[in-house]
Structure formats: C-alpha cells, structure tokens
C-alpha cells in the first residue's frame, strides 16, 4: 500500500505542489490540507504515514520566516504534532517548513531543560534572498531521510533566511555526535564548502543545510530537493546526472512503508 503524506498548507505556502509531485514520484499518495481545514475538522493525523511542511512564505514571513506558522503549530496543533513525532513517523520540513519546525522547537529537538529555542534560521549572510543551485552531502545515518544515500544531491535554494545558527555554538559538537547533521553544503567537486560563498550560500554554521531530531525521523532542510526530481529541471543534465533529490523522498517513503 502506498503511504499517505499529509502536506500542511498555511496561507502563503507555495511549494506544496512541487512537494506533492516529488512524493508521488517517490511512490506515495499525497493530500494537501490547509491549516484552517485541519483546525476545524480535527482530522486525525495518525491516519497518515508522513507529515510534510513545504516551502513558501507563510503569513508573508511577517515577524520572521516561519515564526507565525510555528505559532500555529504551538497553539493549534501541539498534540497532533507531538504524537506524530513521538510515534516515530516520518516528518519533513523544507525551507519555510524547516523554519517553522525550528521556530516551534521541534528541531533540533530534545533541548534538555531549557525552554528557549536552541537554534534558528536567520538572514543570509549576504543580506539578500537568493536563488541558486547548490550541492548537498547527505550525512546523517540516523536520519531516516538521508541515511544510506551514496550520491550527493544537486538542487536549488530559494530563501532569504536560511542561515542556520545555534544559540550556543558548543551544541554543534552534540548535534554532530548525535548524528543530527543531516545535510551539508558542498563544492561542486564534492569537497567541503568550508563556509565559502556561494557553495555555502547563506553563511550557515558548519555548512549545515539540514538537521534532524535525535530520533532521526524529523528532517528539516533549506534547499529544495523537490525541485530536482525530473531530468528537465537539472541545468547540468548534460554533464551531471544522478544527483537528483528524489532519493531523499524515496528513503522517507520506504521508511513509511516498512514501519
């Protein structure tokens, strides 16, 4: 049976369609549900196997990217989300969805005693929104989305607030040790981006493009693997094939099928 993906839709979300196509290509069924509908119907999230938070500009990014979507999650959907995450089901947040997961405290997760958020996605170091293709190294072997991927992934970024930073830089070692660094930016030749623009496009700490929670079932990332699913999307199709983002979604779908 095909796993069912619940794709959350907040006003201003705009990559829901792209994400839906990516999941369908990976073998899942998708449903895009506006938060307003979920709020009223109190639909049971547990009937889905995967939860996805797409990119866009929820609430126009007013007061900070993902901030008000995070508030929705905290105020209206706290229990549903917590249950889904604790049950070990697959969750992915991309771009604005990642920002919402971080700002609502779901990622990096397990923050010990402290109530204050441990991480954030802030303004790109260059100060501007930027759209360009990047190269990604899937790293985490505990993350059900990135584990076992042997290839690097090429896909675009399109964001103004994708600069990953920690409140306490010492926590970086913890994240690494826990296997929570899921994806890192690379140079085209596969070597470390080493903080160098434009390979690391936004100044993220330690070239981090995506992180997962300690359990590995929740992934958040700034780049858009959902926009590199088909050959025609790849500007380097003549010389660099086999770096599609589909692997990530296939991983998630496979995990959902098995669990």
């Amino acid at each position: 049976m095909k796993p069912k993906v619940l794709i959350l839709f907040a006003p201003g979300i705009n990559r829901d369609g792209d994400l839906s196509v990516a999941f369908q290509q990976a073998g899942a069924e998708t449903e895009i549900q506006p938060l307003s509908v979920l709020c009223q119907s109190r639909l049971d999230w547990m009937q889905y196997q995967i939860l996805a938070l797409p990119g866009g500009f929820s609430y126009a990014d007013a007061l900070g990217a993902g901030k008000l979507w995070a508030l929705d999650l905290q105020v209206y959907f706290k229990e549903e989300l917590q249950r889904f995450v604790t049950a070990g089901k697959a969750v992915i947040g991309i771009c604005n969805g990642f920002q919402a997961l971080v700002k609502s405290g779901v990622l990096p997760g397990a923050n010990g005693e402290s109530q204050a958020p441990a991480a954030t996605l802030t303004f790109n170091q260059g100060g501007y929104f930027e759209c360009r293709w990047v190269h990604l190294q899937p790293q985490s072997q505990i993350c059900i989305w990135s584990r076992g991927i042997k290839t690097t992934i090429d896909c675009p970024i399109a964001h103004g607030e994708g600069n990953f930073q920690l409140r306490d830089a010492d926590r970086l070692a913890d994240l690494e040790q826990n296997g929570q660094v899921a994806l890192r930016y690379l140079k085209p030749d596969g070597s470390s981006a080493n903080g160098v623009y434009p390979y690391n496009p936004n100044g993220s700490l330690s070239d981090i493009a995506g992180i997962c929670n300690p359990q590995g079932n929740v992934l958040g990332l700034m780049p858009h693997p959902e926009d590199h699913i088909f050959e025609f999307q790849n500007p380097k199709r003549a010389t660099r094939s086999n770096h599609s983002g589909l692997v990530l979604f296939k991983n998630g779908v496979q995990y959902a099928q098995q669990s």
């Binding site: 705009n14 369609g17 500009f57 954030t120 260059g126 100060g127 959902e226 699913i229 025609f232």
Partner: protein, 977 residues
C-alpha cells in the same frame, strides 16, 4: 469608534544581538553611495506598537513568543507616552531616526502582529503598527544631514513619515463617513468651467470629452453625481480605453517618396496591430485583444496566456510599492482569464545609477533608489506568490531618470476552454479578496498625466503596498472555483477599482451595486471613494445563486473574504446605491461607447542619418581594441544582471528548464526562458523571450520596432522555440501623443508592428500602451523618455530536449554566424561609451530574408546539430561571442575580416545568431544553410583566452578572467530590507 481611556500604547524594540547585520550594512553602503561620507555606522532596529490594555506578563509573552528570535535578537518594551519621546540628541556623533507608515497605508506586518497577539490569548489589543529605528553614528552629524539621510534612504514621504528621535506611532484614523454625494450641474457649464472641473478632479479629460458628457447630461436632462463623473473619467481614461490608439490620425510625412504610411488612419489600432493578427489567422491563437490577457493553444488539453503591464508613474514616486503592485496587477490579469500564474517577467528602465544628486530634477528620487526599490518590490511580490520570475532585462538611459519604466509580465496556464465569459442577468456580483480602503484613488487617470514635482504629494493616494499573500489566496480559491465551474465571468479590480471591473462586466447587460456591502479596511470612506478605490488584491466574479454555498466553502478553506455586493440584470444601465440613496445611474451605451474618437496629428520624423547608411569615411581607431571591449562589457546595459536575477525565485513550481542564468558556473546570460509546467503531461514546453532597444527608438522608431520584433523572435529561437508558433505582445511607453512629433513616432512604430508581425508570422495577442511618460521639472523643462517599445514573445517548443542555452559546450567545436550580417554604428553601444570616438552612421536594418534563416536554424536544431545559440544584440558580435565563452568558461578564436575587424566586432546588426556546432556535424550543417547566410567565424578552445584575428593576424587576445571581471563588475543591490 472612540478609544477607551483604559487603552495604552506599548512600544517594542527588536535589535540584532550580533555585529555585521546585513540589513544595516546595506543601508550604510547606500548612504555612502549617495555621498553621505560622514556616516560611519548605522544600526537598524525594528519597532512594533500595540494599542490596548496589557499587563507586564502579557507584554512579555507577546515579546517572547511573537516578536523576536532569541538566538539572534534582543527585545525591549515599555509603555509609550508623549513624555517618553526622545528629544533629538545634541550629540554630533550619534543620532536617531525613526520611521513608520502613514495612516491608511497597508502595513502587512502590523496586520499579522494583531492577528498573532489575539491568537495566543484573548488579549485586549485593538490596533498595531510597525516601524524602524536607525541609530546613526559618524563625525560631525547635523540635523540637516539626518533629514537628508531620512529622505534619501529611510523614509518615502508618499507612504511613510519619520522623526529625529522617537516617533509617535500612527494607527488607522477612524472617521465617520458623511455619505455625502457631490453633484455637478454640467448642463450649464462654460467650456472653461468644464476644463476646470476636469482638472480639479484630476480626470485627464479634454474639452471635447467633457462636452460629450455635457451633451449626455443635457439629453437626459440631469446633473451628475461625483461617482458618475469619476466613473466616466476612469472608464474613458487612456489607461482603460486606449483612446490614442483608437484615434483617427492625420499623417504628415515630409518625405513624399516614403510610402510606408497612409495619409490617414481611421482607427490606428485596428489598422495596424489588430489587423496583423486578423490577417495572420493563426489557428492556435485562442484569444487576442479580447480578454485581460492573450491566449494561445498549448497542446490539445491546455492553453497559455500572457499579459505585460507597465507601472511607471507609481514606481517613480514609490518604487517598492509601485513595482510591487505592478506585478500584483498583471498577475490578476492572468487570474482574470481563469489561468494559474506560472511565470513572471520584468523589464526595467532606469536612469544612470551614477547620476549626481545635484543634477536630479526637483521631486525626483535618485535612480539608484528607484532601481533598488523596484527590484525589491518585484522580488517581494513574485517570490511570495510562488511564481518564478524567469525572464527580464534592464536598460539605463538619462531619459528614464525622472520617469522609470517597469514592465511586469505574467504567464498563465489553464485547461483548454475553461474560462467563462458569460454574465447572466440574476448572477450575483461577488468581490473576493482584500478589503477596500482609501488607497489607490484615480490611478487610471494618474497614469495618463504628465508628472511634475508635486505629483508625489498630490498623488500619494495612487500608490499602494501590495499584500501578495492575499493575492495568493485568490489564486488558490479561483482555480478551484474554475474547476467546479462556479462562476460565469471574472474580472480583476485594477485601475478604476470596482467601477471599472463591475462596469466592464455589466457593460453588455446591466447591474446594481450596494456600496455599504463592500467590506472596508476602516470606516469613513465616502461613496465615490468606495466605488473608485484601487485597493489591491480584489477580483470580481459573476456567480449564480445556486453556486454561492460551494464558493463560500472554498473561500473559508483558504481564508479568503467573499462579499456579495449586488446583482447583474438586463437593464442596460449601471446603478449604484449607498444605503437607500441612488448615487449612480448611467446608461451603458453612453458609458462604454459615448467617448468621442480623438483626432490626432502625426508628423513623421526623418532619422538624423538614414537607417542602414554606411559612413564611407568611418574612422576606426587603430589602437587598444582591448580597452574598448572591456568598457563595452562593463556598460550597464550589457553587464551581468546576476545580482538582480538571483533575488528572484526562478525555480518555484519546478518547471524552469532554461533558467535566466546558464553555463558551467551558472552565470552566463540566457536569451530567454523555457518552462515545462509540471501539470502538463508530455514533453512540450513554452518559451519566453523579449526584444527592446531604446537606442534605436531615438534614431528611427519604425526600424526600432522591426528590430524589437526580430530580437524577440530571435531570442525565442535561441532557446529552441518553433518560429512558426510564436505569439507576441506590444508594450508602448511613449510621451505626450498630442504632440505631432511624438504621435509621428507612434505611427511609425504601430505601422512597423503590422509590417513586422506579418513578415515574421507572429500575431499580436495582447498589448498595452502607456503615454505621457514625461516629467515637467520645476524649471519648466520637459523630461521625456525615449520612445520605448517592448515586444514580448511566447513560443512553443514541441520537446523540452530541444531547448538551447548560450554557453559554449565543448572545445574544438565550431562557431557559426548565421543571418545577414551588416553591422552599423548608428544606435550602437559602441557609440555610448564615454570618451570613445562616436562613429556617425545610420542604424542597422534587418534583412528581409531573416525569417527564412530562422526556419533553417530551427530545422538545424531539430536535426541535433546545434550545441549552443546566442543572438547578437547590444554590443555586437564580440560581446555576444564572449558571453558564450564566459558561460562555458571556454576559450574562443574568432576570425574577422582583415579590413573590417573593428566594424565586425563592435557594430550592431539585426537578424544574426551565433551557433556552436560539433565538428562531426560541420558538413551537414553547412550544406543545410547553403553559403548565403552562414559563415564559419570561430572555434572553441580549451584554454582560457579569447583571441580575435583580423585575417591572419591576432588583433586582440585577452584572458577570460579579465573579461569576466569587466562583465561582472556592476552590482545593483536593494537597500530596502
């Protein structure tokens, strides 16, 4: 509504907790660029104000949960009172400027803040506003300097106000509407009084038009309400009805030999642009000049629509808001043909970025500020709508300093024949989307007038800030409503607001509207303001009663407001009520057909040098072609636009096959864009491209137009488009058409549109004209733009695998020049480089056999022989070849003519393309073309050098990195966050 005495105002300050805040850095570099060198640093804080009654715990919760990011920011709050206002400091080392929006201007952040505070608790908060605080440090700061800084960088008086020290926040003013309707007794007015009324109400109507209205009043024995008068003025505005193009034109041509133009046009548009489309009779054109956007076939199951609009005057006085609502408006045009917006384009014309502040005409913003604001405005709207901005261009000319041009385009996709256009009597008039405010009054007439130093102040209300998220909701709702066939007709609320949208929909039948039902942003709007307001993000649809519930359900799902404001009927009249009062009652026949046809005079101007004239005495400088090439590459019109392109999301929706940048390092210039929509099965893709050349417009508007059509087609072809399936759009930006010389230029361009469209087989499907792009300086001098015509092309490519890019692919490949190459220096960029010798000459003309060459190019591509393609445009052959080389970071050897290398390298030409071909295809390729229009001109090298040979000698040899550096030196960046 009065404010209870228990209410207080709270002020929150949010500041970054780390150094090197990029936003502050942006302002600092902008301050330096505008000559304010004393400033050493700027800190930038966000301000939020809430009005209500809150205790300390509640303030803390709001601050911590909503207002700041604890990892990167700090927050402080306090209750605001007049006594806490800061007195401007006496210190000359640190001063503070605070900025906030004027009351009534859309403040999307404040709206969200209000919603969020209510969400976390039922807090007693009734209003919110936002602002910014700038802490400026430097040497010998003065209050004068702070005022300059505030005006140049931080606040635009049209939408914002500032103070030195703490600012008093503004909340929407709450006034009570009088409901008063003014009445004008037009019947008895003298000619002078009629003109005075037209001017007082900024109606932009001339005496003949005022007299036509007077005649109507006399016939019906009546006076006119202010609503009626304003509605007629908007409906008859140049913007809405295109009266210049519908005019009869007497043509005065001083050259009796010249038979290109008739002595008289009875209807300029019908005899030129529309006539071309009619004669071409392309079966794949589904709608031309009928709907808000032109529509062509896309495969068997789909149709694609395209519309390009200009938003020039609003962008001149408030660049961010002007461009923002420009893109918002053109997106609604596409929604207005029931299509999903799938791509956006933008072509921008600005004054020189290095213009000195002292030479700016009074009341004109600096071109840098206009450019950065416009780019931010497009970015903000396009990105937030989730529409990829995939194609565009930027031109600079002193003629655009006071009057920038902002062309915004949008492409839509819909299932075939699902766009209904059939208003039925009894259908309800439903308004969807944003609420109505006092913003954007009289935009249609404003855009039809010459601007002057007071325009910013007087027409402030014409400019709005967009709310893209609201418009996104409209798309979400309307695509579902279309699929469920819930409405009979749809129109966007653009210029003229409800008066124009409802008026147009009711023009065939009739309708009645109740104004008190229109949802308002704040109370206090007079009836005429409600009817005319151009508040953004609204659509009007005609919905039969049985579908209301289904529509309501969709609207709730997406949080979109829907309001029933009236009913269509078969009366043949438009009637509007305010409560019980009838405030408007106009006969459709008069309203939509009563405008007298304008009679205009056109004088054809002779170009300074006849086009195509080759100067036999042309003197080519013999020294230093390297420097000339570097300076051409660095010319603002030619230099890389990467810094602008990257702030637009060109990947969203996942369909962008050819991106705006290409090549191994993703920085080569693309000739156009190829889109394969995810929702359309199969391999078919669409191609977008454009052609424009204001330099040629100054020389010869007729030839300029042919070049623009040729360039648009050529660019599309260079992306792989089938030249037999290209539709084009015209966008004219012109001066005052009542001047016979300006009208003469227009006649030349319009006639060339007809001639060119037939010649290339490219029907026009949509267009728009913008006149009076002039600025009357306080010195009495007129600043007019060069005659500017943008031709946008939309083509189809049967298989996306045929898509081409401009970057060189492989060393040892061959480079061919195809087309009839006849370079000239008239209108060339060579002649624009300061300090370089100008070669007096005519401008180039396109060879009549060019369309045949394009067919051959397309066939060669289908055969698989073309590796890359790039057209020759601004800068000529050398620039085009180097752009290809830079894209592929591959060297190139070019063989130019022994005697004419200089002309061949730097002259400009139409109708020519460079094609990269692999050696193994050489014979087949050459045989295919014959030898008339093809010339082997170069070879791709594996090293990083560009070498140009004249005959056997090396005429020029340069390193790739020097060329790249020259080409990429220019950066425009936005200043607004």
């Amino acid at each position: 509504m009065s404010i209870p005495s228990t209410q207080h105002v709270y002020r929150f300050e949010v500041q970054p907790s780390y150094a090197n805040d990029p936003r502050a850095q942006g302002f600092l570099s902008a301050a330096r660029a505008s000559g304010l060198d004393q400033i050493q640093s700027i800190r930038c804080l966000d301000l939020y104000f809430l009005r209500g009654h809150l205790n300390e715990d509640q303030l803390k919760e709001i601050a911590e949960r909503i207002l700041y990011d604890p990892v990167t920011q700090q927050v402080h709050w306090q209750e605001y009172s007049i006594s806490t206002e800061e007195v401007p400091q006496e210190s000359t080392q640190e001063m503070v400027i605070e900025v906030t929006y004027r009351p009534g201007v859309t403040d999307p952040v404040a709206e969200q803040l209000l919603r969020a505070t209510r969400m976390i608790n039922s807090f007693e908060v009734d209003a919110a506003s936002s602002g910014q605080r700038f802490v400026v440090r430097g040497e010998k700061l003065t209050t004068d300097l702070m005022h300059q800084l505030a005006k140049r960088l931080f606040a635009n008086a049209v939408i914002q106000y500032y103070s030195l020290g703490r600012i008093t926040p503004s909340f929407p003013k709450e006034t009570i509407a009088s409901g008063r309707v003014e009445r004008f007794q037009l019947g008895e007015m003298s000619a002078e009084q009629l003109l005075q009324l037209s001017q007082e109400r900024r109606a932009a109507l001339n005496l003949e038009e005022m007299q036509a209205i007077q005649g109507y009043c006399q016939r019906e024995g009546r006076d006119l309400s202010d609503l009626e008068f304003e509605m007629i003025a908007q409906t008859w505005s140049e913007h809405c009805v295109h009266k210049t193009f519908k005019a009869t034109v007497q043509v005065n041509n001083p050259n009796p030999e010249d038979r290109r133009f008739p002595q008289e046009y009875k209807h300029l548009f019908n005899q030129t642009i529309r006539a071309a489309t009619r004669q071409l009779k392309k079966p794949w054109v589904l709608s031309a000049f009928r709907d808000n956007a032109g529509i062509i076939q896309f495969g068997e199951q789909h149709e694609i629509s395209f519309k390009v609009e200009t938003h020039n005057h609003p962008s001149a006085i408030e660049p961010f808001g002007g461009a923002n609502t420009g893109i918002g408006g053109v997106i609604r045009d596409v929604i207005g043909v029931s299509a999903k917006p799938i791509a956006a384009t933008d072509v921008l014309c600005f004054g020189p970025q290095d213009q000195s502040v002292d030479t700016l005409p009074d009341g004109v913003l600096h071109p840098r500020r206009i450019a950065s604001g416009v780019v931010s405005g497009i970015q903000d709207y396009g990105n937030k709508m989730g529409i990829p901005t995939v194609n565009g261009a930027i031109y600079y000319d002193p003629g655009y300093t006071a009057n920038p041009l902002v062309f915004c385009g949008c492409i839509g996709l819909a299932p075939r024949d699902t766009h209904p256009r059939d208003v039925q009597p009894g259908d309800y008039i439903i308004v969807l989307g944003g609420k109505t405010g006092r913003d954007g009054l009289r935009g249609a007439t404003f855009s039809s007038m010459t601007m002057d130093a007071q325009t910013g102040e007087v027409s402030g209300a014409s400019v709005q800030i967009g709310a893209p998220i609201v418009e996104k909701g409209l798309v979400d709702v309307l695509m579902e409503a279309r699929d469920q066939q819930l409405y009979h007709a749809i129109t966007d609320c653009g210029a003229g607001g409800l008066s124009s949208a409802v008026g147009e929909m009711a023009s065939e039948c009739g309708g009645e509207v109740q104004l008190v039902d229109v949802p308002l942003k704040y109370p206090g709007l007079e009836p005429w303001e409600i009817w005319l307001s151009e508040a953004q993000e609204r659509m009007v649809i005609a919905v039969p009663e049985q579908n209301l519930d289904a529509l309501e359900e969709i609207c709730e799902k997406y949080g979109v407001q829907m309001t029933n404001i009236g009913e269509f009927n078969g009366s043949g009249r438009m009637r509007v009520y305010y409560q019980d009062q009838e405030v408007l009652d106009l006969d459709n026949q008069f309203l939509h057909h009563g405008l007298p046809q304008r009679k205009l005079q056109a004088t054809i101007r002779m170009p300074q040098h006849p086009s195509e004239w080759l100067n036999p005495d042309a003197n080519y400088p013999s020294d230093n072609p390297e420097e000339r090439l570097l300076r051409l590459l660095a010319h603002p019109n030619i230099t890389s636009k990467e810094s602008v392109i990257r702030v637009y999301d060109h990947e969203v929706q996942g369909g962008t096959v050819v991106k705006p940048l290409c090549g191994v390092l993703d920085d080569g210039p693309a000739d156009g864009s190829v889109i394969k929509p995810l929702s359309v099965p199969g391999e078919k893709a669409l191609v977008l491209a454009a052609g424009m050349n204001p330099e040629y417009g100054k020389q010869d508007p007729y030839q300029m137009t042919l070049h623009a059509i040729d360039e648009a087609v050529r660019n599309a072809l260079c992306c792989g488009a089938d030249p037999n399936q290209i539709a084009i759009l015209d966008n004219f930006c012109w001066g005052d058409p009542t001047r016979p010389e300006t009208m003469g230029d227009l006649v030349q361009a319009a006639q060339a549109c007809f001639d060119g469209a037939l010649h290339y087989g490219t029907p026009f499907i949509s267009g728009k004209d913008s006149f009076n792009n002039e600025y009357l300086g306080s010195d009495g001098l007129r600043h007019a733009i060069p005659p500017t015509l943008l031709i946008s092309a939309m083509g189809v490519i049967p298989d996306w695998r045929l898509a081409l890019t401009s970057d060189l692919k492989q060393a040892d490949n061959l480079l061919y020049l195809v087309g009839y190459f006849a370079p000239r220096f008239g209108g060339s960029h060579h002649n624009l480089i300061k300090g370089m010798p100008v070669i007096e000459e005519g401008m180039p003309v396109c060879h009549p056999k060019t369309p045949g060459v394009y067919q051959q190019v397309y066939q060669a591509n289908q055969a698989g022989w073309i590796q890359s393609a790039h057209d020759l445009s601004e800068g000529g052959l050398a620039v085009a070849a180097i752009e290809m080389a830079m894209g592929g970071r591959l060297g190139l050897r070019l063989w130019l003519d022994e005697v004419n290398a200089y002309r061949e390298a730097f002259g400009e030409t139409g109708g020519c393309i460079l094609l990269e071909v692999a050696k193994q295809d050489q014979v087949a390729f050459e045989t295919h073309f014959g030898n008339k229009s093809v010339r082997l001109i170069g070879k791709v090298l594996s090293d990083q050098f560009i070498e140009i040979m004249n005959g056997e000698y090396t005429w020029l040899k340069m390193r790739m990195e020097d060329l790249v550096q020259a080409w990429k030196h220019q950066q425009i960046r936005e200043m607004q966050a």
